[in-house]
Amino acid sequence: MPDTDKQPDWLDRAKNGDAKSISQMWGEYAPRIYRYVRYRVGTNADAEDLTSEVMLRAIRRLRDVRQSFAPWIFRIARNLLVDFFRKRSHAKEYQAMEYKMESASPVENPEHGTLTRATLERLLPMLSGEQQEVILLRFVEDFSPREIAKQMGKHEDAVRAIQYRGLRRLKELLSEENI
């Protein structure tokens, strides 16, 4: 698991507006933010818009980084996701339809007993928001339970419990589909 407490080498230079360092930040974090957001929102277009906004906010607020960089930027993403879901709550049906359309074309051919990205994309939204978040941060983004707890404003034990319940629910869903 990478040490997310360690500040990236480029951070101080990026804070002073060094364009090359900001580009390094882009290269390292845009793909991570994208995949985190992509699993949550379900469509490429929304994921791109949100990632773009997260990266822009991060670039503009770099001087505010006082803590570890990775949890800081993921917190920006998390806050934007909360806004996104609040705004979209009135359009759930539309969102579900759009999601279904994009998920309809599988990225890979699932073999029996193998978890694929398409399956994960389809089943993850069936978990609670907190479960989705913990699973993504822990197993896709490699954050420790302590870091996730800080980001979510929860106790580590609560994060472990959410993680357990989330995995169990996902396992149930997979079993229902004979995967």
């Binding site: 698991m1 990026a14 507006g17 060094d18 364009a19 090359k20 900001i22 580009s23 882009w26 845009a30 793909p31 994208y34 995949r35 992509r38 699993y39 490429n44 994921a47 791109e48 818009d49 990632t51 773009s52 906004e53 990266m55 822009l56 670039i59 503009r60 607020r61 770099l62 193998t114 978890l115 694929t116 990205r117 994960l120 994309e121 699973i135 822990r138 197993f139 896709v140 490699d142 339970p145 034990d157 472990r160 419990a161 993680q163 357990y164 995995l167 169990r168 996902l170 396992k171 997979l174």
Partner: protein, 262 residues
């Protein structure tokens, strides 16, 4: 007896420490079936090839930087790193030079427009601004020509842009000291005449429905030429009168619709 959450966490830490799922399960026969399943599932999630962003993500972000920054009445320090980043990416990856030949509707066109906006924002002196505005006016004119060559209808937005950029270039040139103004007025006059001739040429190649727009655009070039020549006589510190400029803008809006506003 340990809680299953705790057992799973211990197993996950071993997994993250480099052990395989099989090694962990072998070493801990006391783990329940459920914990074993969940450990395997978590390992599977880690192994999935996760989604990666498309190239459009960078294009979208550059376009956002370009759209948001210059429209503000002042340039907050917050936006400087964003502009520095955008400029770096564009220069470093050479995307700007590749996108120069792009036309509206193509994938690289937003990069072209973003690059132009960034260049404009980074231009500090009136002469730099005049230079870039004139170049942009010329680019929009060539995009119109390209569309005509492809037998497409006249794009009103491009028509408005080439005219408005030329007007902005004239406004910037009007702020120059007299030593530079004569040179610029001559260039502006030459360009207005060239624009007018291109519009005249386009009238022979476009559908009749587009003719009124082109005729209006041609008339606006003629008026700008009059304006440039009168400026040469005025020699005032501010160049063309504000009233005259406002009249031109109103006329442009009436002719082209709301797109005429830069």
């Amino acid at each position: 007896m340990k809680e299953p959450e705790q057992e799973l966490e211990e197993a996950l830490q071993e997994l993250e420490g480099g052990k395989s799922v099989n090694e962990i399960l072998k070493a801990h026969p006391e783990y329940s079936e459920e914990v074993r399943d969940l450990l395997t599932l978590s390992a599977n999630i880690r192994e999935i090839p996760h989604p990666l962003p498309r190239e459009e993500l960078l294009v979208k972000t550059l376009a956002r930087i370009a759209q948001k920054g210059p429209r503000r009445t002042f340039w907050p320090a917050l936006w400087k790193p964003a502009f520095a980043f955008a400029t770096f990416v564009i220069v470093f990856f050479g995307v700007a030079s590749i996108s120069v030949g792009s036309v509206p509707g193509t994938m690289l066109y937003p990069i072209k427009v973003a690059t132009e906006r960034i260049r404009l924002t980074l231009a500090w002196t009136p002469e730099q601004k005049a230079e870039i505005r004139l170049e942009l006016s010329d680019r929009r004119l060539h995009e119109l020509l390209q569309q005509a060559a492809d037998n497409k209808a006249i794009d009103t937005r491009l028509l408005a842009r080439t005219l408005s950029e030329a007007q902005h270039a004239l406004d910037a040139a009007a702020q120059l000291p007299e030593s530079r103004r004569d040179y610029w007025m001559e260039r502006m006059d030459h360009f207005a005449n060239y624009q007018k001739e291109v519009f005249a040429d386009l009238t022979e190649r476009t559908p009749s429905t587009d003719l009124p727009k082109l005729e209006q655009a041609r008339m606006m070039c003629l008026r700008r030429m009059e304006q440039i020549r009168s400026m040469g006589d005025m020699r005032g510190p501010r160049g063309p009168g504000m009233m005259q400029r406002q009249m031109m803008e109103k006329m442009m809006k009436r002719m082209m619709g709301p797109d005429a506003t830069p």
